[in-house]
């Protein structure tokens, strides 16, 4: 018999996400999956799931959950108050949640996207090879929608319930966000590029799983703000007529008609997505060759963190 997870209280934009939906961008289907892939993978590893297992993603505020069997749970993404049956427990490690006990997750501090992984993973049916929810087109997840109070999610088989914690610390710095110029870098003249790389930009509340609208000095495109629509990728920085950059994130559409000044490097996108609204930051440009090297290092670092998890005492 399989376990069930009940949601008693849910924050906004809470959804089922896995490692992403691949192979369908040519058909207009967004990749989706966790906004912070590393935090999602670590949460899964802490409860002995595959890194890409389906877990719950929440924005800013958690909720209250129970399971009808003993399971392991882990919360990652940022710092926040969590408790099990009224007893405070730590984030970024796994805990036993006994059948019927309530797990309460509070508000994230200094981060935007949080993850709750449960041992066995969420086993709703896959759509196009993934359980991730694409909210705008209602593809995947729980009927393509956000999770609400009263929802019940099926869980997979769980192995031995041994709680774990990080052995190798998982750290992210606050260096400028790295970008690779292009594909429409030549739509912007030297002065626009100077502005883009030397002036701070700011995260705003205009953000969801599809995109983040940034505030800061407007960028004017030399050749206009309309192109013949071409492909976008996760991390594309579009510049519409307003001159305010829009960063496409996990649920971003697959094509677009705005020029794209640059692309956020893969290993810095989650760091940007996790910046709370109203925070200033800088961009820096690096070459694609350099970014590839660093992306491979970032993957190796994540593997080391996951490989270095250790059993908790007691």
């Amino acid at each position: 018999m399989k376990a069930l997870l009940s949601i008693h209280r849910s924050g906004p934009l809470m959804s089922v996400q896995d490692g992403g939906r691949y192979g369908f961008r040519a058909r207009g289907v967004s990749t989706s999956g966790a906004m912070d892939r590393d935090a999602h993978a670590i949460a899964n590893a802490l409860v002995s799931n595959e890194p890409g297992a389906a877990a719950i993603e929440f924005a800013l505020i958690g909720g209250a959950f129970t399971a009808d069997r003993d399971v392991l749970v882990a919360v990652t993404g940022g710092r926040c108050a969590i408790d099990i049956a009224g007893k405070a427990v730590a984030t970024w490690e796994s805990h036993l949640l006994k059948a019927g006990e309530t797990l309460t997750i509070g508000a994230l501090r200094g981060a935007v996207w949080g993850y709750l992984a449960i041992s066995g993973g969420i086993t709703i049916p896959e759509v196009l090879g993934s359980r991730s929810t694409h909210l705008r087109t209602a593809v995947g997840g729980l009927d393509g929608r956000v999770i609400a109070s009263g929802d019940i999610l099926p869980l997979g088989e769980t192995g031995k319930l041994k709680s774990r914690m990080l052995g190798t610390p998982y750290l992210r710095g606050n260096a400028p966000i790295a970008v690779i110029p292009g594909p429409q870098d030549d739509y912007f003249d030297e002065s626009a590029w100077k502005t883009f790389l030397r002036q701070p930009y700011r995260t705003t509340t205009s953000r969801d799983r599809m995109a983040m609208v940034l505030d800061g000095p407007a960028l004017s495109a030399l050749k206009g703000h309309d192109i013949v629509s071409d492909a976008t990728v996760v991390g594309s920085i579009q510049v519409p007529g307003s001159g305010k950059p829009i960063v496409l994130t996990a649920d971003g559409q697959t094509t677009g008609g705005y020029p794209k000044i640059a692309t956020i490097v893969s290993f810095d996108l989650a760091r940007l997505a996790q910046l709370p609204a109203g925070q200033d930051f800088m961009f820096r440009a690096i070459s694609a060759d350099m970014a590839e090297e660093q992306a491979i290092h970032a993957q190796d670092r994540l593997s080391a963190v996951i490989g270095g998890l250790k059993k908790k005492k007691g």
């Binding site: 058909r27 207009g28 870098d185 013949v228 820096r284 694609a288």
Partner: protein
């Protein structure tokens, strides 16, 4: 020390003042594009689809996905298997090879119930063009369209081939919800809506067929390169087809391939 790249010349043949095609565009550390034109042209689109077909037939190691659009092909790759710099060279070489005759795609007939819930836009277009409803239908359904690309939303088809007289600017204020199946006009482009959602295009009718249905064995009805004609149907035929589509027994008419 990393050298900060400056915007400017890219790999691929290019001169200072005039861009020559094809050229390589960097799209981050996991994607790279090859661009054949900066305008909408069937010739450029055929090159895109031809290269895409070549990559499907003889894959390059490390390519995870390909995304053909109007005038460029973007490929998503795993930098652990292939580096972008080398991939860009390989794409240029592959594009320079004598391509096989491009697939002309299937020719499919979509039944359209003109007007209906989109009567207001339909009437406005007739008025803007100073013509009759019957003429708008005759013009729209006499042309052969080509699927230039699928994108924006699951299964959403961007069509080329809209008769010039029907070119109509987008609305200043987009509408919040347009249903799947709606037949749209946005500037020089035409489209078939695939999922409900907001849109600033004008709509003149609907087809009962669903371009995207994840519950179907083949979730997507169209692919880039397919050709389309529209046939005007009345409300009775539309309702009959709605029922068949819901029951999964409706079949799109394939005229040729």
């Amino acid at each position: 020390m990393p050298v900060t790249p400056r915007p400017g010349p890219r790999s691929g043949p290019e001169t200072i003042n005039e861009i020559s095609y094809p050229r390589i565009l960097r799209c981050g550390d996991r994607a790279i594009g090859i661009e054949f034109s900066d305008t909408v042209s069937e010739a450029a689109n055929l090159k895109v689809l031809s290269l895409d077909a070549s990559l499907a037939a003889e894959p390059i190691d490390g390519i995870l996905e390909t995304i053909p659009t109007y005038r460029s092909l973007t490929v998503i790759y795993d930098p652990k298997t292939v580096r972008g710099a080398s991939l860009g060279e390989q794409l240029l070489q592959r594009a320079a090879q004598d391509a096989a005759a491009p697939d002309t795609g299937r020719l499919l007939e979509f039944p359209v119930f003109y007007g209906g819930e989109h009567q207001a836009d339909f009437d406005e277009i007739a008025e803007l063009k100073n013509t009759t409803a019957a003429d708008v239908i005759a013009l729209h359904s006499s042309a052969e369209y080509r699927v230039y690309m699928i994108g924006f939303a699951p299964g959403f088809a961007y069509l080329g081939g809209l008769p010039e007289i029907l070119h109509t600017p987008r609305l200043a204020v987009p509408r919040q919800r347009i249903e799947a199946g709606a037949i749209g006009i946005g500037g020089r482009q035409s489209s078939i809506n695939s999922v409900p959602g907001p849109s600033g295009w004008r709509f003149i009718g609907r087809t009962p067929f669903k371009l995207f249905d994840p519950a179907r064995t083949e979730a997507f009805l169209l692919k880039a390169g397919d050709r389309i004609t529209f046939r005007s149907i009345d409300i009775d035929e539309a309702r009959e087809l709605d029922e068949k589509v819901a029951a999964g027994t409706a079949e799109l008419k394939e005229i040729a391939r």
